[in-house]
């Protein structure tokens, strides 16, 4: 079962620079475990030691946020497209500056 995974620039050091990689799994958790076998360390950047998704990571299955689809239990099917993005979208300048000002 092939699932296409889009990797953001900051995580491509784990995929040998590849922007798009392929993996397999019935769930997102399964897919990440499969990917980690090929790209060691990638899973650890996305999943916390407690087993949840990293706060500043957003993962989408066919453009829908997995946090509303069961997170790591989100079901996957052959041909699904998975996109990984850092949490920065939406007026990036405004909140980046604000966050820095307030020491967040």
């Amino acid at each position: 079962m092939a699932i296409e995974v889009r990797v953001p620039t900051i995580l491509r050091s784990y995929t040998g620079g590849a922007k798009v990689v392929e993996g397999a799994g019935d769930t997102l958790g399964g897919l990440l475990t499969d990917l980690d076998a090929k790209y060691s360390g990638l899973r650890g950047r996305l999943v916390t030691p407690e087993g949840g998704l990293h706060r500043f990571v957003n993962i989408y299955v066919n453009d829908e946020d997995v946090r509303f689809l069961g997170s790591l239990d989100a079901k996957l099917s052959d041909g699904d497209a998975v996109t990984i993005l850092p949490a920065v979208a939406g007026g990036a300048l405004g909140f980046a500056a604000a966050a820095a000002l307030f020491g967040r």
Binding site: D65, A87, A100
Partner: protein, 321 residues
């Protein structure tokens, strides 16, 4: 529509219009699925941000944080800056905006016209440099007031007290509310209000997915989630790419005559997705979505004409929502 004592009093109360041509066709005998657009471009400065700007300034006045003649500092080149500039002008404050020097000339002209002062940070340093510049300025001027829209309760409250009640009044049969996710204020405020009043309401977020340049962090820990964000208010969250956002923005003006900015296209894309799902399930749906602003400020991108690929390229690396 009526008369108002001043421009500030004319904030909100925007029309909700049906989209009979863009709403999906349902099979004979099936319940109707309808799309409704909340025209936030009809606010005093032409965007939804007039609502939070006014509420944040009022709250700061009431708490004594803002006093006559004070200076407001805001690191923004977007709609919030323009709204704050108008409110600051009418309420007697000075507004200083910090932004990289490579923002579009329309933004600079609009902000200056409304009376804002602009401090530029070098373009080469991008948003990191703007952050550094804003930090320096804040340290030099501890008396300047920053309203911090990403963590300011008055931002979400503006929508809880105005946008939400307006929607429910105009569309008591509402089943879905779809809006953009930036500061998260619109979705948090309107979403909470509608959840309290409408059983089974679906609150749907549409988040712009930009070109790679915008996600130029050095590592994941530099990411940021606005303090206002509470995921439990939402039912679903869609990421919408530039191409889909441009396609829908063009469709909205071509089919329904509504000339909007690209963030509205992203929202419409998510609204259409939930509308088509309702048709498939044979369920009734009244899907209300937000038109954040008009398209005027984005004309210079050239993304309203030419092929979709050209438009996508024109918006690459820009914060189009």
């Amino acid at each position: 529509m009526a008369r108002y004592e001043s421009l500030l009093d004319a904030c909100g109360g925007t029309p909700l219009v049906g989209l009979p041509r863009l709403s999906p066709t349902v099979p004979e005998g099936a319940p109707p699925v309808r799309l409704w657009a909340k025209l936030e471009d009809r606010n005093p400065t032409g965007s939804i941000k007039d609502r939070p700007a006014l509420f944040m300034v009022r709250q700061a006045e009431e708490s004594g944080r803002l006093r006559p003649g004070d200076t407001i500092l805001e690191p923004t080149s977007g709609n919030t800056g323009i709204s704050l500039a108008m409110v600051a002008k009418l309420r007697g404050y000075r507004l200083v905006c910090v932004m990289p020097e490579n923002v579009s000339s329309e933004r600079v002209q609009l902000l200056r016209m409304y009376g804002a002062e602009i401090i530029f940070s070098p373009a080469a340093g991008g948003s990191n440099q703007a952050v550094a510049t804003a930090k320096e300025i804040a340290a030099e001027h501890p008396d300047w007031v920053m309203l911090f829209q990403y963590g300011n309760d008055a931002n979400a409250r503006a929508h809880y007290e105005t946008t939400g009640p307006e929607l429910l009044h105009d569309l008591p049969t509402i089943t879905h509310f779809v809006a953009g996710l930036g500061t998260t204020g619109t979705l948090m405020g309107t979403g909470r209000y509608l959840r309290e009043k409408v059983d089974g309401i679906q609150i749907v977020a549409a988040e712009p997915r930009y070109g790679e340049l915008v996600y130029g962090l050095r590592n994941i820990d530099e990411g940021y989630v606005p303090e206002l964000y509470d995921a439990s208010v939402l039912n679903r969250r869609f990421s919408v790419g530039t191409r889909d956002a441009v396609l829908r923005t063009r469709q909205l003006v071509e089919v329904e005559g509504i000339f909007a900015g690209f963030s509205t296209g992203a929202i419409l894309h998510a609204a259409l997705a939930v509308a088509h799902e309702a048709v498939k399930k044979g369920e009734r749906a009244d899907v209300a979505f937000v038109v954040c602003d008009g398209g005027w400020k984005y004309l210079s991108t050239g993304a309203y004409g030419g092929t979709l690929a050209e438009a996508e390229e024109a918006l690459e690396g820009q914060l189009w929502a």
